[in-house]
C-alpha cells in the first residue's frame, strides 16, 4: 500500500528544536499515538490533539491529507 501524507502542526514549546508545520509520510492506518511517539514526545505531554480541527483520540487512524495538530497543555482566557 502506498504511504499516506499527513500535515503535522506543532504549537507552543513543542516547536522548540522541531518545526512549525511539515508534511510527513506514514503507512496507511497509522494512529495518532504512533506519530506522536515517533516525533519523540511522551504521551503525557499532550494537551490537545486535533485532526482536521477536531479533537481526536490517540488511537484515531489517520487518512491521506489529514492535518494533525499537537498542543501541550496550555490555556488562557
Amino acid at each position: 500500500m502506498a504511504p499516506i501524507t499527513v500535515t503535522i502542526k506543532l504549537f507552543a514549546h513543542f516547536r522548540n528544536g522541531r518545526f512549525k508545520e511539515a508534511d510527513h509520510q506514514f503507512p496507511p492506518g497509522v494512529a495518532c499515538r504512533e506519530v506522536i511517539l515517533g516525533l519523540g514526545f511522551r504521551l503525557g505531554e499532550m494537551g490537545i490533539v486535533m485532526v482536521n480541527g477536531q479533537h481526536a483520540p490517540l488511537d484515531y487512524q489517520l487518512n491521506e491529507r489529514d492535518t494533525l495538530a499537537l498542543f501541550p497543555l496550555v490555556g488562557g482566557g
Binding site: G53, Q54, H55, F71, P72, L73, V74, G75, G76, G77
Partner: protein
Amino acid sequence: MDKILRVNMTNLTTAVEEVPAEWAGLGGRALTSTIVAKEVPPACHALGPNNKLVFAPGLLSGTAASNSGRLSAGAKSPLTGGIKESNVGGTAAQMFARLGIKALIVEGMPKGEGWYALKVGKDGVTIEEERGLLGLGNFAVIEALQSLLGKKTGVIGIGPAGEMRLTAANISVKDPSGKIRSHGRGGLGAVMGSKRIKFIAIDDEGAPGIQLADPEAFKNASRIFTKALMDHPVSGQGLPTYGTNVLVNILHEAGGLPTRNFTHGQFDGHEQICGETMHDTIVARGGKPRHGCHAGCVIQCSQVYHDKDGQYLTSGFEYETIWGLGANCLITELDDIAQADSIMDDLGIDSIETAVAFGVAMEAGLLPWGDGKEVVRILREEIGKGTALGRVIGSGAGAVGRTYGVTRVPVVKNQAIPAYDPRSVKGIGITYCTSPMGADHTAGYTIATNILNVGGQVDPLKKDGQIELSRNLQIATAAIDSTGMCIFIAFPALDIPECLPALIDMINARFGAKLTGDDVTGLGKTVLKLERAFNLAAGLTSADDRLPEFFHSDPVAPHQAVWDFTNEEIDAFWNF
C-alpha cells in the same frame, strides 16, 4: 474592624459605617452584587443619581494567598442595562483590604459641572475638588499622582473615555509597575464619570493590616494552594511563557477564532499575531514574557512588550485584544495592535468592546479591513478627542451597528461577544447568552473543557452537556470572583483535587469560619440568582438571553457550524 466607606456625591459628604452582619461573610463580586441589588433601583438610569458604584476587595485580598489581589467593581451597567461586576488586579485591592475597607460605595451625583477626587486612607475617605488632571490620559494621571503623593500611592481612575461617559469606558487601576489594569466590560468608567470622580487615590500608611483567625492553618493551606498553581501545566508553565495569546493558534486550529467580524472561524494571518510569535518578539526586543498584574501573583500571565527600538510599548497584552483587532479586524501587524492596546489603556476604554466595535465599523465601510494605522488614528484623534465618530465607536459594537445599519453585530445584552465563536465552541455560547453580565467569556469559561481538555472534555461542536458545563462554571466563577482570586486558578482547581479544598481552608483560616465546598457552591448560586433577579427587575427578559440572528443563519467555516440551541434549551440554564 472592617468598615464600609460611603461617599455621597450629591451632598459631597462621606461616612464610615459598620459592616452589616449579612455582608460580613461576603467579598468581591458577592459583595458588590449584593450591595447593588439591595441599594440600586433596578430601573434607574445607569448614568443618573440613583445608580451606585461599589468597590470591594475579595475575601482573601490583602493576605499572602497567591493570586488573591483582585478588586471587584459593581454597578448597574450603562452598556447592558443590567447588573455588572468586573474585577481587576493592580495594587488597590490589597491596599483596601489592609485598610480594613470591606467596600467603598459611591452614590448620588454632583449638581454642577465640577469634578472631584476621592482620597482614601486609614481615617476614611475625603472628597476634594479636582481641576489639574482633567482630560488627561491614565498614564499621565498616575505619573502626576505618584510625584504628588508618592510612588506607593494607589490609583483608581478614569481616562477621557470615562469623563465622556462612553459606554465602553473602563475604570483603570494602577498596577505594581505603575501601569494600568482595567475594570473592563460594561462601561463602569462611564458610571464613575457620571459621579464626576476623576480618580480615587489610596494611601495605606498606618493601615491596621489583616488579622488571620488561624495563621498556622492559613500558612499550610496557602502552601498547598500555591503548589497546585505551580504544578498545573496551564498556570505553572503555559500562561507564564506565552500569556493568554497562546490561544490564537488553538482557536484558529479549532475553527473557533472569529475572523472578519465573525464571518470565518479561521484567520490566515494567525501566525503573525499568535502567542508563539509574540513570545519570540518580546524576547528578541528585551521585553519580559512574564509579568504579574498584582503582588503575590505566581502565574504571571502578563508581559512587557517593547517596540522595534526596544522601548516600552504595552503590558497586559491579552489574547482577546489581539484577537479583536487581529483576526476580527484582519490586522496582522502585532506592533499596531500593541500601540492600540496602549492607547486604549491610556484613554481607559475596553479593548474587547472597542475592538469588536471596530470590526462592525469596518463592515460598515468606515475604515478599510486590516488598517491598523487608521485604528490607531481613530483611537487618538476621534475617540480621544470626543468627536461624533469617536463617541459612536466608543459606545461599543451595538452603537456602531445601530448608527450605521449593520446587521452582523456580535453582542448579547448589547455587550460585545469576545474571542470565541459560539457556533463552533457551543458551551461558550451558553455563557454569552445566560451570564447576567452580557456576553462575557470569563463568566463561565467553557473553553477550558470544550477546547483545552481541562476539567474533562465536552465536544465543542455538539450541544450535549453544554448547558451543564456553562452552569457549573458560572456558579464556580461567581464564587471565585468573590474570593479575590484570579480566575486562572480555575485551571488547577478543575484538575488538581487538593486545590479547591486548600482555597476553602484559607478562607476559613482567615475568618475563623467553617465553610464547606457546598457552602462555596451555594454562594456562587446565590450570587448568580441575585444578579439575574436584578436584571429581570431592570426590564431584561429571557429574550435578552439570546445570540444575534446571524449565528443561527450563517454557518461558520471550517466546520460549517451554526448556533442551534432552542430558546427552551437556553432557558433551562436557570433550572437550579
